[in-house]
Symmetry: C2
Subunit: 224 residues, 2 copies
């Protein structure tokens, strides 16, 4: 099945819907309305319907979405319906924390190896994953790995991404706070944690003098 | 000065532009064209001009943007023109890594305290920040702190956010992979690391058979 070209922003929201659906399924529900899903994930219901409209008609009027069926469909669209092997490069503070991070399995993501240049770290086992010498990144070509997490210092980010691209990695989650370039066949998503925190003050009052003039107000509580 | 209501997506991109401008300034440049800034940050130039149009006319035809002036203006819009105190709650693997994370200072964000419930962690000093007993979150009301990072387990996230809201925190960066609710006066940005990684397979070929039919292709290399 082929779809029309999907906006990146829709692709960005699909995992949010998926998480909402997975939690709803855990609560024993079978159907959910677009409004209930909207309230749950904190996205407008028209936006949800528009995002889903790229893929066909998922809902039934008066009944809503069948949770399990929709979750399965989104997983298929996001290509999360098979187990994906991932590696981590850079076992510093953040890298170590990511190795211990419990959430990847829920999306079928399996971190199978980690790499570092520090001899003191090589050989360590963190959460069942052994830290290998970075020179062994070259072996990834034959190990069926398609995803990588890059948590190296800023100065090493570009060369790390170059090497990962060379050995056939197709998707990279980059935590180095800098601009990186990759061949077109490699999708890089950069996550700059400091920048995320830096978005917050915009929404805050200046000197405690009430709402920011720009901040939207829709309801007393907001979900996130 | 008051602006029209600014879309959240524009607010999300402003720090990206700011980072691009700061790096360009580090390279000794004084002006930058919207096209050069676009190439640098990986956003379309029309999008940059549209985002800036909410705030007035920043550029000069034929000369481009004055980097320092524009960076100062974006910092002012984002309210990053003063030092903001932040705290961290939950000093596990991820929390410890965040305390050591070097990038916050560049945006005027200063992590001044950390909290945990584990007696073994209380009293520890990480990157100059002392870990306090979580019961002391109540003291934040008098400590001039407006921002918090929440890195507690999923099950503790909502109660932590409730307490932070009660003591006057206005902006929260939440790493717990779950839905949380906060009073309207508190802006919560949730960052689900596993979900970010889960966005990547969409862009990858199915079984090595070439590009995903949906993936866009614009140039051979892409910036991120």
């Amino acid at each position: 099945m082929r779809y029309r070209r999907i906006p990146d922003e829709t692709v960005r929201r699909l995992p949010i819907y998926l998480r909402g659906l997975m939690v709803s399924a855990d609560h024993g529900r079978e159907h959910i309305s677009s409004q209930a899903l909207a309230d749950f994930v904190g996205v407008q219901s028209w936006q949800i319907r528009k995002d889903f409209s790229y893929f066909g008609d998922f809902g039934t009027r008066g009944v809503g979405y069948h949770i399990e069926k929709l979750a399965r469909e989104i997983k298929r669209i996001l290509r999360l319906d098979v187990i994906r092997k991932a590696v981590l490069v850079g076992v510093g503070d953040l890298g170590s924390a990511l190795l211990s991070y419990p959430g990847f399995g829920g999306y079928g993501l399996d971190i199978v190896a980690a790499f570092d240049i520090d001899p003191q770290k090589i050989g360590a086992v963190i959460n069942g994953v052994c830290v290998e010498d970075s020179s062994r990144i070259d072996t990834l070509r034959d190990r069926g790995v398609s995803l990588a997490i890059v948590a190296v210092p800023r100065t090493a980010a570009q060369s790390t991404i170059d090497r990962l691209a060379q050995v056939g990695i197709r998707g990279i989650l980059n935590f180095a706070p800098c601009k990186v370039i990759a061949p077109h066949r490699v999708k890089v998503i950069s996550l700059d944690i400091a920048m995320e925190l830096a978005r917050l003050p915009y929404y805050m009052p200046a000197g405690g003098a009430g709402e920011h003039p720009l901040a939207g107000r829709s309801s007393r509580h907001r979900a996130s």
